[in-house]
Assembly symmetry: C2
Homo-oligomer: 585 residues x 2
């Protein structure tokens, strides 16, 4: 129907007869001449309908309203002097319309496209209208380009994309499964996959050597923060490899995807051990766009004159005393603001938040009196305190200190008075050597998953056992991660034992994987990257919903289609289920 997309036209087309199609983005009548900005996916072009050029086209133009679908034929000409619009790509030209067809009408829209103040109840109900916003289209264009780039580079590197099932078995990988009742098998259920983890390992056992998939995954979690019930991950697995080879594949992949979105990033990315990340940034996903590194000062506090601190310092294996120096903070933050930082960290378990200010006449603060002059000087030296700097102290059990000091670091960096975060930077970091286990309420749990290869299981404390597991972090967001997997039956059995999983339970939950390990499983490993999150970061959107065409709300509803919804009783009968009667409160 068209000869050109709107913004494919430019000065070189002047004099040509063209046809463009799209939506009436705006409309104005100026001295009897009607100007319509016509919009297609590429952008806008001005249609000029002058009754002297075509009385008929002008008459039709007169009935055009916002978002009407138009087919316009006419000649391209330069706009008159002073009439160009530098904000439009096509701002130097216009189309003088001879023929105008209204291909479809539009009722008045329920909201103005691009208006950010409209509530999601409305924008999601009319998502197709929200998608007409140019910046939305651009985000999905980049998403498509990035996916293509990912596939091509993996294909070039000998990976096959293999589709694994969506209707599969409930496996306990942490989150709640979505279940699908079976019609054929009375009382039985499929589960939607939380990841293709087991299948990709089976493909390695099947000799596929290099697998990938851009895969839909499902978790029936409470949708706090920015989660979706279904999400997409780029899932990769390879055989006969070590961590270095996996990391190389992941880096090449990420670089290629950014390149497809016109962003240059360079590999290899920086690396940090999990231990260092926790000690220095209080997080296993530190944002490396800024400094603010925590420093250990437990040895100095051990000598101070305050029992709270000396008691904490007595147990350096389980406790930490950490200092976070914020350069120039004394020059920008009021006393009240400094106090508000303490209120902030209390929410995360801090008992308090001491701080010293570096004044012209030395280090000041209510706690300084507990320290010897030598130790005050040692603090100044170790932290490199200069006039105007503030140092905050966190003390307590290590997990709590890491957590709240890590959060304080981010809180301060993002504070409008500090503004340490450069939104145009992409700082990647591999966090490596993850612990194999974590102990929660006395229960040993796998930190990644129970198929992760341990480095060495011969440790007194299970928490000291490291695994060959790695996470990739971008700007403080965990993009993904992976591990080398266990490929020997006896190692897997040992890990299950450490996890307190009985043979019977292991058999029931992972029987087919254990079987597969019996029949010549190759060494293998891989990773997965959250594609939605990656695209959110690439397109600089604030929510993954902006890179998902038809997202669900916080309550896992699709307002547009009204899913989930009630279904016929007959359907339920076919599935051998009934709805549980609600107990009235």
């Amino acid at each position: 129907m068209r000869t050109h997309y709107c913004t494919d036209l430019n000065e070189t087309n002047v004099g040509q007869e063209v046809t463009v199609v799209g939506w009436a983005n705006s409309y104005r009548d100026h001295g009897g001449i009607i100007f319509i900005d016509l919009r297609d996916k590429t952008g806008l072009i001005q249609l000029t309908c002058d009754p002297e050029d075509s009385a008929e086209a002008h008459k039709i133009a007169d009935s055009v309203r916002d978002e009407y679908v138009l087919v316009a034929k006419g000649k391209v000409r330069l706009r008159g002097e002073g009439l160009t619009n530098p904000r439009l790509k096509t701002g130097a030209i216009e189309i003088v319309v001879d023929e105008l067809v209204i291909e479809n009408k539009s009722a008045p829209l329920p909201f103005v496209i691009g208006d950010k103040k409209v509530g999601e109840e409305t924008t999601l109900k009319y998502r197709y209208l929200e998608l007409r916003d140019q910046s939305m289209y651009e985000a999905f264009r980049l998403r498509s380009k990035a996916a293509i780039a990912a596939r091509n580079i993996l294909d070039e590197n000998g990976f096959l994309e293999v589709e694994t099932p969506i209707l599969t078995k409930s496996t306990p990988e942490g989150a709640r499964d979505y279940l699908v009742p079976s019609r054929v098998h009375n009382g039985e259920f499929y589960a939607l996959p939380q990841s293709p983890q087991l299948f990709k390992q089976l493909l390695m056992v099947g000799g596929f050597d290099r697998y990938f998939q851009i895969a839909k995954c499902f978790r029936d979690e409470d949708l706090r923060a920015d989660r979706q019930p279904e999400f997409t991950q780029i899932d990769v697995e390879m055989s006969f490899c070590d961590q270095e080879e996996v990391i190389k594949v992941a880096e090449d992949l990420i670089v290629a995807m950014f390149k497809a979105c016109d962003i240059e990033v360079t590999a290899p990315f920086n690396r940090m051990t999990h231990k260092d990340a926790m000690e220095k940034y209080g997080s296993d996903k530190p944002d490396m766009r800024y400094g603010l590194e925590m420093v250990d000062v437990i040895d100095i506090f051990e000598r101070c004159d305050n029992e709270i601190f000396t008691n904490i310092a007595k147990k350096p294996h389980v406790n930490r005393i950490k200092a976070l120096k914020v350069p120039g903070a004394d020059l920008v933050f009021s006393k009240r603001e400094m106090k508000s930082f303490e209120d902030y960290v209390r929410k995360f378990g801090a008992q308090g938040l001491g701080y010293f200010q570096m004044k012209e006449d030395g280090l000041k603060g209510p706690l300084t009196k507990f320290f010897s002059e030598e130790d005050i000087q040692l603090l100044i030296d170790r932290l490199g305190m200069e006039i105007g700097d503030v140092v905050f102290f966190g003390a307590g059990d290590k997990k709590t200190v890491w957590d709240y000091m890590g959060r304080l670091r981010i809180f301060i960096a993002e504070h409008e008075k500090m503004n340490l975060v450069d939104p145009n930077k992409y700082e990647f970091l591999w966090v490596v050597d993850f612990p194999m286990f974590e102990v929660e309420d006395g229960r040993v749990k796998a930190l990644h998953h129970p198929f992760t290869m341990p480095k060495d299981t011969d440790k007194d404390d299970v928490e000291d056992i490291e695994s060959i597991a790695y996470d990739i972090v971008l700007n403080g967001v965990e993009l993904g991660g992976g591990s080398i997997r266990i490929h020997k039956e006896e190692v897997q059995a040992e890990i299950f034992k450490l996890l307190g999983i009985s043979d019977e339970e292991a058999r029931e939950k992972f029987g087919f994987l254990l079987d597969a390990l019996k029949f010549g499983a190759p060494p293998h490993g891989g990773f997965a990257i959250g594609f939605d999150r990656l695209m959110m970061l690439i397109t600089k959107k604030s929510s993954i919903r902006d890179v998902i065409a038809f997202p669900k709300t916080q309550k896992a509803s699709c307002i547009l289609t009204e899913a989930p919804s009630q279904v016929d009783n007959e359907q339920l009968r076919d599935l051998h289920i009934r709805i549980r009667e609600q107990v009235k409160a």
Copy 2:
């Protein structure tokens, strides 16, 4: 771990020290020297372990069993004269092993890899072992290549891949939905999509212009024949287009996918109207690799002397009398075989199956006596009967005649004595101008779907209304199809009326699509291609299960993971459902 894949090695590597990894495919001890065929995804290479080269490697080799995972280091050398194996790509060389590591052991396999006689209860349970068969890997390699090619050509043509939801709303598109109970919304259910149809139309309303997706679709149908509960389709939609443009995109796509699999096919493909397909081949998906075209003879039978035929011939609008000439059939089929054809068509509603044989002395057969000499000659001329030919006649109501004569055509073509089907040919056909509706038991139904654009609704008989719908057929298999969609609210309302769908019902089922049509929907259309079926045809497999990595059985079970399975009562309670008590028979 490796320096080369097995079959990357050839005579040019002779003298090089290499490392290969893989599985022990076979093993033999010959005069104290151990020969192991090592297998990776690319194929086999011979490892030679001679105690004189390395006593240690030989000793390890001695403990190797089938499917052990090995890392072998050694020098490439030419095999001795007379020892080359022309069936192997690497048959001219071998690796003299210095170092051999058993990376993992294998229990004896439950079946021999590649053995076609093993039942699926076993092969599917150990699917990962079945996948080790080279021809399986090759099928998935082609599947991956074809998918990449599809994405690249669509990307080049300006299409964006957009992911549409898997957790969506139950929509009535013919088949049964898979349902997913909602935890958050008590008593409500998501449905897995039967296709992304409505979403892709909404993307067009959203101005996305050109969309595609290689999408998972779900149908809870009885799995007769070769169906899977989940399948993959290549789904395409575009705006401001006509049928020709859509067909061009589909042809370019198909040509590119075949090319990626090293098969050259050329477009444009042949076309046939739906009417012609039914009249000539008795099928809307005729196999065009062979002739056997049906010819209308109702006018001749009208004049014959047999009331059965003359009565049928009186109603040419609803009845048909069709002739199927089979060249040379009289020379190969016995009388008993000809009779067996009658038994075959009776299964599909035929009352009988008359036939004439062209003998040296003219047309023979029990029915000839009912025809005048002129009409016998007319039959001979119209059908081009030559000595040895047989013509079969079908008479009755048109749908029945089309059906059984179409089946007879295939039955005869595939008969081992005729063997008209060339398995190496790829004959594509577009079947166009599909009827908009079909009437079943007095109920008007949409033949494609109710969003298909009718050509002209102004007909006395709804069955005469044609639609802008087209199917793509390959070798008698429907690969896919599509249509131009309705983009105007009033046309959609008219179609719902003809389908007997009330305003209220339409609102409830398709409310959001009807809403979308109000706000400036562009003209649009598209198509979908069954990717599993296409890959089955490309790889010449007999079942789609051979191109699905983890297929389900006829009973929709995954034998490997034992899905579906029973789940905890607690899970069901979270989902507000309970299992219906079984009524004992």
